[in-house]
Symmetry: C2
Subunit: 450 residues, 2 copies
């Protein structure tokens, strides 16, 4: 038996090695930049909360996935399984210290003891942003515009935010005398993309009849344009239905806002979008990538009536969305985006002579003061060892300074990709070269934060 404990992680958990963690951090940073541009501010909440807070007083079947235990004080505690419930508790607790409408984002890990067979992780990161304390077309549109702006900044090609209004669907079902079956029908329609038209129709027939199934399928079929689809949806509700008018008006205003903002090309009205959850009451949306529609929605959400009604009688209507970070990372990997990123570090100073260690660090400090990231190789080793290190860490340039070069005031720079060495006569000259190279990398990565 080995004296060592086998180093391993729990099933459904994973380490992030540097390449993956750098990618995740860059993605998050771009999203945060977009959120800030719209005035969303970050919050954080504890990972552990009272189980009662997270699960409610009932504690139903779905709670089985939650990591729940007794703490040292015998309190019944649980690890958060989403960011919505803690946000609801947060708002109920702090609304007096804050201001309304409150727009926040929260990017943090959550835990669910899910079945790992389907490639699901038990620890994953969620990214939510919401505007609460207002029920307005302006806020609905704000969430849509934020999604568009955030995704544009990621260099993942085209995408479509598909929007719908739960109210119109409900009015239509009511008009058809199907109100009592609406939850079941919404759930079936939500599967359309996964299971196809015929299977959806079969399920709808099982709930009603063939004529009704056809009517529903006609209702959820998008027409050529946003306005045509919207008119059709309204026309299929009762003529005198003020709530249908209201929903129609709401979605029409959201469209007008995105049009005037010059971003209407990114949205589509898709009456088949329902978002399974009972939670949503107004606008709902999903976002698909043009080049990878098969990975599913990378940003979804909608409007809800009541955020915090478990904890307070204060009415907190809101609208929000959740970014699918893991799906976006999968897309970035597949689309080979983020490849021409800034290296970290840009330069490795090789250790050629023990006597020059202090000179290496002094040079590093000088280059860093001009914004270049520099690592000093910490011990004198054979050059192939140091080259191999630089390649594994994907460091593009290496300074090879020995006593001779130092006394000749020369700075030899090895370009690792081509194995070419260039001699610079001063650190100024070297800086000009490095800055040019880094600027062209920056350009190649085509940062489009507009």
């Amino acid at each position: 038996m080995s004296a060592y404990i086998e180093p391993r992680v729990l099933k459904g958990f994973r380490d992030y090695l540097p390449a993956a963690e750098i990618q995740r951090k860059k993605l998050i940073q771009k999203l945060e930049t977009a959120f800030s541009q719209f005035g969303f501010v970050p919050i954080d909440t504890p990972v552990l909360e009272y189980a009662e807070i997270l699960l409610g007083k009932g504690g139903g079947e779905t709670d089985k996935q939650v990591y729940r235990f007794k703490d040292h004080g015998d309190r019944d505690v649980a690890m958060r399984f989403d960011l919505t419930v803690p946000f609801a508790r947060f708002m109920a607790q702090h609304v007096e210290e804050l201001y309304l409408p409150f727009r926040r984002y929260h990017i943090a890990k959550v835990w669910r003891g899910e079945n790992t067979q389907r490639g699901r992780y038990r620890e994953f990161m969620q990214c939510d942003f919401d505007i609460v304390g207002t029920d307005s077309a302006s806020a609905d549109a704000d969430i849509v515009l934020t999604i568009i702006t955030a995704l544009k900044s990621l260099d993942i090609g085209g995408f479509t935010v598909r929007v719908n209004h739960r109210g119109l669907f409900n009015r239509f079902l009511e008009h058809k005398g199907l109100f009592e079956k609406s939850t079941a029908i919404l759930r079936i329609v939500d599967k359309l993309e996964k299971i196809g038209v015929q299977a959806t129709k079969d399920l709808l027939i099982a709930e009603s009849d063939e004529k009704t199934a056809d009517d529903i399928l006609y209702f959820i079929h998008p027409e050529a344009g946003f306005t045509e689809t919207l008119h059709k949806m309204r026309a299929l509700c009762a003529a005198e239905d003020s709530r249908a008018d209201e929903a129609y008006q709401r979605i029409n205003t959201v469209y007008a806002i995105t049009r005037k903002a010059g971003l209407a090309d990114y949205i589509q009205l898709d009456p088949s979008i329902t978002r399974g959850l009972d939670y949503y009451t107004g606008i709902v949306f999903e976002t698909s990538l043009s080049r990878m529609p098969e990975i599913g929605s990378v940003c979804s959400g909608g409007r809800y009536n009541e955020l915090a009604n478990l904890y307070t009688d204060r009415k907190l209507p809101g609208v929000g969305a959740s970014v699918g970070l893991d799906r976006l990372i999968a897309a970035l990997d597949t689309l080979d985006a983020q490849k021409s990123q800034q290296p970290c570090p840009a330069v490795l100073i090789g250790a050629l002579d023990e006597q020059l260690i202090a000179d290496y660090h002094a040079l590093a400090v000088e280059l860093r003061s001009h914004g270049i990231s520099v690592e000093v190789y910490p011990e004198v080793r054979k050059l192939p060892v140091q080259f191999s290190f630089a390649e594994k860490k994907q460091i593009p340039w290496m300074i090879l300074l020995d006593a001779k070069a130092l006394s000749a005031n020369e700075l030899p720079l090895k370009i690792l990709e081509t194995r070419e060495t260039r001699n610079f006569k001063s650190s100024e000259e070297l800086l000009i070269f490095l800055n040019e190279q880094l600027a062209s990398l920056s350009k190649a990565s085509g940062r489009d934060n507009g």
Copy 2:
């Protein structure tokens, strides 16, 4: 009985409201920038691990603070209580996929069920950075230079990195015939700053005698300069002691490196620094702020022989440090630093006319495309309500656009601090004004990342 669940967090846990979370994020971003400048790369590890991995096979007394429970598969799991143990496991598991020397940083939450009476939190964030796979003066100096660079970027005034070498202290104690008592003596000396000279002397006398106590106090007293202190320390060890020579040489080289890098003013040789832990074997350091020495060390660490010997026979010597984020945040609060930060958002577009909602969003999109963060107030409310909102969110400027101003091509901007309103004739003119104002804020915050 209320139907509502009382919204509250567990004792020892806390929410981060926007102002605090923005401050924490900015601090972390500055530290990450400094780490990247030195070639440190980020990693992440799971919050939950096998209890055996985190606590070892024994599971001693100190483990009582650890949040530990059985998961759904009846596995004995625990939440991480520091970032060092997971890093050790990480290195043992992934060393073949990585490269050595490996320098990483990890900024993440950890949990300890500690007594909360002393104002301690049970959930807090740690920030560690280490270089493993090398035992060299260059790496020791690299950590010291990274600390200096990181702290310089934070605008918290002067600071001193106080360094020492555990080897010299041990050689001195050996020379005095006190080797067996060295752990006890190191622990006493570690308390010097807290309890004062006399109390320290009393404790030392209890371990030895008055003459020995005086000798120890003489040894740990810093002289006027780094070199004088170092010479004295060496002189108080045995004359023929190659290990004392080695330690002397190591610390001397670290000093030479910081001197050549022009940063020696930030370090001081302080023989009283021991860092209580048995873990450290070479250089050790603590960092105190000139303007707030009373909050204690804001960055501490040292060199250790073996990072991962619980999990592998692979030798992984390293050197690293841990930043005290909560202490730094307390210092930033007290020193009123980070006050002249960029506002988020910079501009609020007031909602004056329901008919102009789309115009408000279009203007917001235009300003954002020039890098200005803009929030659109989502519903038409009385102006005082909107002003009060802007003030609570610390938004400095507000655009008040009604139909008249729009048709006259005017953009009225209210400066909330002075209540003055300025009329701009175009968004270009407005952008020039906003960019000037934001640049001067940026300047006032005096970002010094050199």
